[in-house]
């Protein structure tokens, strides 16, 4: 019964690796789109630093091509119309430009940071409850962050993505819906006929599995 909700939303999933390769071809600039040798992934943080330091529009264009459509998809799944999602996605990317110096690459990947900006934009756009932030840590972003830490933050998001994709569909859909915030637990319960307890325990199982995957992969390194 619960599976019936999944196909309602068409997930246009793009292999991030293919997408990244496309971006690389479109931005041929003196090799400073640094790639990590093992992962064949773009170093998104380096692009944010170029926006921060040089107001580099080429770097920004690469970030935009990757993240803007993802933010838009996220907002549409959160219940925004296409027009609103398009406008908000542009806002989110403009905020990325404007607040680039606040990006702390040692603590979060660019994807994570973009998610937090998109979440805050969604609160305004969909008139959600105000969400106070915790006190800022006494240390801000380092101007020259430690590369190993930066890489680690990005790889963590990638590992989480892999672990998320490997979850049983029923669990993954619940996690994603929780983040899209399109329905509360009790509304999902009403819609799917699943008892609230089942939804909660499925989410709990999913989180345990994600945690386990992250532990396994962290010790593998």
């Amino acid at each position: 019964m619960f599976d019936a909700i999944a196909p309602q939303k068409a997930y246009a999933t793009v292999n991030p690796r293919l997408y990244a390769a496309g971006d690389r071809c479109m931005t041929p600039k003196k090799g400073n789109l640094r790639l990590t040798a093992d992962a064949e992934q773009i170093d998104w943080s380096a692009l944010v630093f170029r926006v921060r330091d040089d107001q580099d529009k080429v770097a920004f264009a690469a970030l935009f091509r990757h993240f803007a459509p993802r933010v838009k998809a996220f907002l549409m799944k959160s219940g925004a119309s296409e027009a609103l999602a398009e406008e908000c996605a542009q806002d989110v990317m403009a905020t990325l430009w404007q607040k680039a110096r606040l990006f702390d690459a040692e603590r979060a990947s660019v994807a994570t940071w973009v998610f937090t900006i998109a979440r805050n934009r969604r609160i305004d756009a969909l008139r959600k409850s105000r969400r106070p932030e915790p006190e800022e840590l006494p240390w801000g972003p380092e101007p020259e962050p430690d590369q190993a830490e930066v890489l680690e933050a990005q790889q963590e998001t990638e590992r989480l993505g892999t672990a998320l994709a490997q979850l049983p569909l029923k669990q993954r859909v619940l996690i994603e819906r929780a983040y899209f915030g399109d329905l509360s637990h009790s509304e999902i319960a009403a819609e799917t006929g699943l008892p609230l307890g089942t939804i909660k325990s499925r989410i709990r199982l999913a989180l345990e599995r994600l945690r386990h995957q992250m532990d396994v992969k962290a010790t593998d390194k």
């Binding site: 935009f64 607040k99 979440r119 409850s129 105000r130 969400r131 006190e135 800022e136 929780a178 983040y179």
Partner: protein, 214 residues
């Protein structure tokens, strides 16, 4: 300060997804300001949000990037961050609601030396307030209609379940009926967020309920 009672995964995930009433968001933000462990867990839930965002994409409108760049060109520079304020009792997110430190709280007496200050939050379904319980005094016996989060900011209290000191959060659902008692020594100050309204079990406090807005 060793915090023993932490936020649940369920609440941290809902906070990451911005799906909670403001009163609960405030308690969580205050707790994360005091608890590095939950702050790290909260950041992991943001990272999960990053992974969810990476997972799906769609088409942007034609000329979207150019529109965005034009918008950026028209923006003014961001303001410098506000100067950090500090208070020995209230973490920063709470200071924003009180309009200052613990000395700025506008307490109202609830009887027996217990005081409260209702904080202005935007949502109807939940409310937030600060409670001041003199050392050794107890809160009236109460149950609640829904979830209640209690974060200790000063002193400590005990109830039937456990001991809660500064930084600890008690998560109580509708099934919990408890009688928190402040420990001897220092008055206990707590931040409490409640879904629905409190139900007092004794007759007199129940009559007083509409008047005191709890």
């Amino acid at each position: 300060m060793k915090i023993k009672h932490h936020m649940s995964d369920e609440l941290l995930m809902a906070y990451a997804a911005a799906e909670l009433p403001e009163a609960f968001n405030l308690v969580i933000a205050a707790h994360l300001s005091m608890c590095d462990e939950c702050r790290a867990r909260s950041m992991a839930f943001d990272a999960l949000g990053g992974a969810v965002i990476e997972d799906s994409t769609c088409d942007m409108s034609a000329g979207s990037l150019e529109t965005c760049l034009a918008r950026i060109g028209a923006m003014s520079q961001t303001d410098a961050p506000l100067a950090r304020r500090q208070d020995s009792v209230l973490p920063a997110p709470l200071m924003d609601y009180v309009g200052g430190g613990v000395d700025s709280v506008k307490w109202r007496p609830l009887g027996m030396g217990v005081r409260q200050a209702i904080l202005r939050t935007g949502d109807k379904g939940a409310s937030a307030r600060l409670l001041y319980i003199p050392a050794g005094a107890s809160m009236p016996d109460h149950g609640h209609n829904g979830l209640e989060l209690t974060l200790v900011l000063q002193g400590a209290f005990r109830d039937e379940a456990d001991r809660f000191a500064r930084g600890d959060v008690e998560i109580a659902d509708a099934s919990v009926e408890h009688t928190p008692v402040a420990e001897a020594g220092e008055a206990c100050i707590c931040l409490v967020a409640t879904q629905g309204s409190l139900k007092f079990t004794a007759l007199l406090p129940r009559l007083a309920q509409p008047f005191f807005r709890i």
